[in-house]
């Protein structure tokens, strides 16, 4: 067991543990904090996969912006812990949840022991070719930011435009939504 | 300055008024049933739009009418004040109409007067103590109330529990020395006026 393995185990435990604690924590603020832990650990996993740029984006976007937004809303609405108020849905959803979860575990166990194509095809951690951006038709994985830019502005030009429009639409939508609330309040 | 014509006109118009004096400013005595009317008259039809002061006088426990409310209005046109005295209805539970609907500034003055004298202003929007704490049982500016104060518990029970403090009469020894100014020489010796605690009488226990 080497250093990277240890790191993987640590990050994986944190990511998964954070996620599990998140969905089971009673108070939204603790949930948000566990979520942050989980997300930062995922960023750590990205680092192990040598996707540095994505790791930083993960922290910047998820931990730095999305979760702050969540916390802000939690505080704004002053949401307390969920009360003991039981709902009919809870039992059903509990069953469904447990079922789904067990299916997933079985699936992943299968993956471990089964010699599926994925596990065979890859030579475990292929060496990186840092010098070329493209290899034939394909974009080559690289740790450099430059290759990201290259990929985004060549092959994925259309998606990035669409994403831009999506963000714009979201922004307009949010503004309209929050405006409407204020007007209703005044009436 | 307020001239004689103005006073005459005022007295003719309002028969419930009577002239008391006109030394430093025009002093009128007003019937308590009409004093709200008079206040709104001064505000709306005359130019006395600034209520500068409202307070009360305690004429002493033996007085026929114990409490009277005194009010000062200022006119920016006449550059002068009008003082209005109103006598309160009852000596035990003095009451009078509030003029805070006409002069919003009267609001706090009336609360203070209530706080200090116990004169209740009816129709006041928020008639409660303003300077002393809400549970304080006495009205300090009444004549029978000693300057030194009367033993009462402190408003905060938890603090009392720790510190064992309470509202105690203030020691008057060495306090303001005042002579009565009349009577035999031995009595007119200056002495601490409030005698809750002097050399002669011990601090009340």
């Amino acid at each position: 067991m080497n250093f990277v393995d240890l790191l993987f185990l640590g990050f994986a435990t944190l990511a998964l543990g954070g996620g599990i604690l998140m969905i089971f924590s009673r108070h939204p603020v603790s949930a948000a904090l566990f979520m942050i832990i989980s997300m930062v650990s995922v960023a750590g996993l990205f680092v192990l996969l040598e996707a540095f740029f994505l790791a930083i984006l993960q922290v910047l976007v998820y931990a730095g912006a999305v979760m702050v937004l969540f916390l802000f809303i939690i505080m704004l609405l002053d949401v307390g812990p969920e009360g003991a108020k039981s709902s009919r849905l809870k039992l059903v959803s509990g069953f469904a949840g447990v079922a789904c979860f067990s299916i997933l575990i079985v699936l992943s166990l299968l993956l471990v022991f089964d010699s599926s194509p994925i596990s065979q095809a890859s030579t475990l951690w292929p060496a990186l070719d840092q010098n070329s951006l493209v290899n034939g038709e394909n974009l080559v994985f690289s740790t450099r930011v430059k290759s990201f830019g290259f990929g985004l502005f060549t092959k994925y030009m259309l998606p990035i435009q669409v994403a831009g429009f999506l963000l714009l639409a979201a922004m307009v939508g949010v503004i309209i939504l929050s405006k409407k609330v204020i007007r209703e309040e005044k009436v | 300055m307020i001239d004689q014509d103005f006073i005459d006109e005022l007295l003719v118009k309002h028969e419930y008024l009577s002239l008391v004096s006109h030394e430093d400013c025009l002093t009128l005595s007003c019937n308590r049933d009409h004093w709200l009317n008079f206040a709104s008259y001064l505000s709306l039809e005359e130019t006395f739009d600034l209520l500068v002061d409202l307070t009360a006088i305690d004429h002493g426990e033996d007085a026929e009418v114990r409490f009277s409310v005194v009010c000062h209005y200022y006119s920016r046109v006449h550059h002068d004040y009008i003082r209005v005295h109103v006598e309160c209805a009852s000596n035990e539970n003095p009451e009078i109409l509030s003029i805070s609907s006409v002069y919003p500034s009267a609001d706090w003055h009336e609360r203070e007067t209530f706080d200090m004298f116990g004169i209740r202003f009816t129709n006041h929007p928020n008639m409660k103590r303003i300077l002393m704490w809400d549970e304080y049982p006495y009205f300090p500016l009444r004549k029978e109330f000693p300057l030194a104060g009367i033993d009462t518990p402190l408003p905060a029970p938890d603090v009392v529990e720790v510190t064992d403090a309470s509202v105690e009469p203030a020691p008057m020894m060495g306090g303001p020395f005042v002579s009565s100014g009349s009577g035999p020489m031995s009595d007119s010796e200056p002495r601490a006026k409030d005698e809750s605690w002097t050399e002669k009488s011990e601090k009340p226990v």
């Binding site: 250093f3 603020v29 904090l33 942050i36 540095f52 740029f53 930083i56 984006l57 922290v59 910047l60 931990a63 730095g64 912006a65 702050v68 937004l69 916390l71 802000f72 505080m75 704004l76 740790t143 450099r144 930011v145 430059k146 | -």
Partner: protein
């Protein structure tokens, strides 16, 4: 040097890095502690006062000339203040949310110290004519790393405000989270033109690397001169991110008493206190690196110091000088300007700085494209 490093085991490299990291933490914390003193001394200077000058260690104080001189400078004041926190009773109010209450100061301090791992503060000249930047980790996305990690700092404040379970801290926490989200945007946008400007076609090294940004200013324009608008926006955003007056919403003393740290006393408050100044120190260092040419001497001039260890020391010293100058600027502003109101801060961020940053970005996109086209 490189061979030496490569010959080491991973744990040995780790150990060396940890030692360096501790040294840097020490340096930053000391600077933070003494910027508190600087704040007190500079404010005293501006207000015609003297500032702390009575505290002195018994033995040093009796040294003839140096003792009184150091005493007059108030050198020992931070020592007393910092240590006092250790010996003060730790009050934990009964109504707080304990875990987060303890966690918050640490979360506030850690990001500030983490960002310094990618901060270059000088360069080391090897005998072979190579120059190695002095930093803990040369990340090619250094600036993004700094943005990412410093954006985590807000959690400390938000958590402190929330866990105190008291109204003033809560308001402080809410204000700060909104403020920091708003200004991060403008800060990021103000940096984009820098990358555009620094990265040249065909160059392999990413322009997101801080070392690259510093070196691009060697014997050339400082970026402050090339992109004054970016520098201005970045500086304003920096003020907002470090919660300094005129943007000290989270702790505005006159209306929120102490803001998010109202319920904090003794050591935990001390950590907040130091964290605030650590943010300032790091922020000043970043501004120096990006806009003021880092450790390089003056714009359009080559460094006057020799390419050996003397040069290294002089370079680091020059870098520190610039940083300290910026810290002074921070203090200067604080004691000169009144404070914004909360909604005015948001207004400034969203309706003034953000459009300005966008316009600035567009302008430089056009400019850089035009320059590149005409160069080809």
């Amino acid at each position: 040097m490189i061979e030496f490093m490569q010959s080491l085991e991973i744990w040995q490299i780790l150990a060396i890095k940890i030692v360096f990291a501790l040294m840097m933490i020490g340096a930053v914390m000391t600077m933070a502690g003494y910027s508190v003193l600087a704040e007190r001394k500079v404010s005293a200077l501006m207000q015609g006062r003297l500032g702390p000058n009575r505290t002195v260690l018994p033995i040093i104080g009796s040294v003839p000339i140096i003792g009184p001189f150091l005493q007059g400078l108030g050198i020992f004041q931070p020592l007393a203040d910092g240590l006092k926190f250790l010996f003060k009773e730790e009050i934990v109010p009964g109504h707080v949310n304990k875990i987060y209450y303890y966690l918050a100061p640490i979360i506030a301090l850690v990001p500030a110290l983490t960002t310094m791992t990618v901060l270059p503060f000088g360069e080391f000249f090897t005998g072979a004519g190579e120059t190695i930047p002095l930093m803990l980790a040369d990340l090619d996305v250094g600036i993004l790393f700094i943005l990412a990690v410093s954006s985590l700092g807000v959690y400390g404040i938000v958590l402190a405000g929330w866990s105190s379970n008291s109204k003033y801290p809560f308001l402080g926490g809410i204000r700060s989270s909104a403020q920091m989200i708003s200004y991060e945007l403008a800060m990021g946008l103000s940096l984009l033109p820098i990358f555009l400007w620094v990265s040249k076609p065909g160059v392999e090294v990413s322009a997101l690397s801080l070392v690259e940004i510093v070196n691009s200013q060697h014997q050339a324009n400082w970026l402050l001169l090339v992109q004054p608008v970016s520098a201005l926006i970045f500086l304003i955003a920096l003020f907002a991110e470090t919660n300094r007056l005129p943007f000290d919403m989270p702790e505005s003393e006159t209306d929120l008493v102490g803001g998010f740290h109202t319920e904090y006393g003794s050591f935990k408050f001390g950590i907040f206190f130091v964290a605030e100044y650590a943010h300032i120190v790091i922020g000043s260092a970043i501004f120096t690196i990006i806009f003021l040419g880092g450790w390089h001497f003056l714009p359009w001039m080559s460094d006057p110091w020799p390419a050996n260890w003397v040069g290294t020391i002089l370079g680091v010293g020059w870098f520190l000088t610039k940083t300290v100058g910026l810290i002074f600027f921070f203090i200067w502003i604080r004691w000169t300007l009144p404070r914004f109101r909360y909604d005015q801060v948001m207004d400034l961020g969203w309706t003034k700085l953000l459009p300005l940053a966008l316009a600035n970005l567009l302008f430089y996109i056009v400019l850089v494209t035009w320059l590149d086209q005409s160069a080809l």
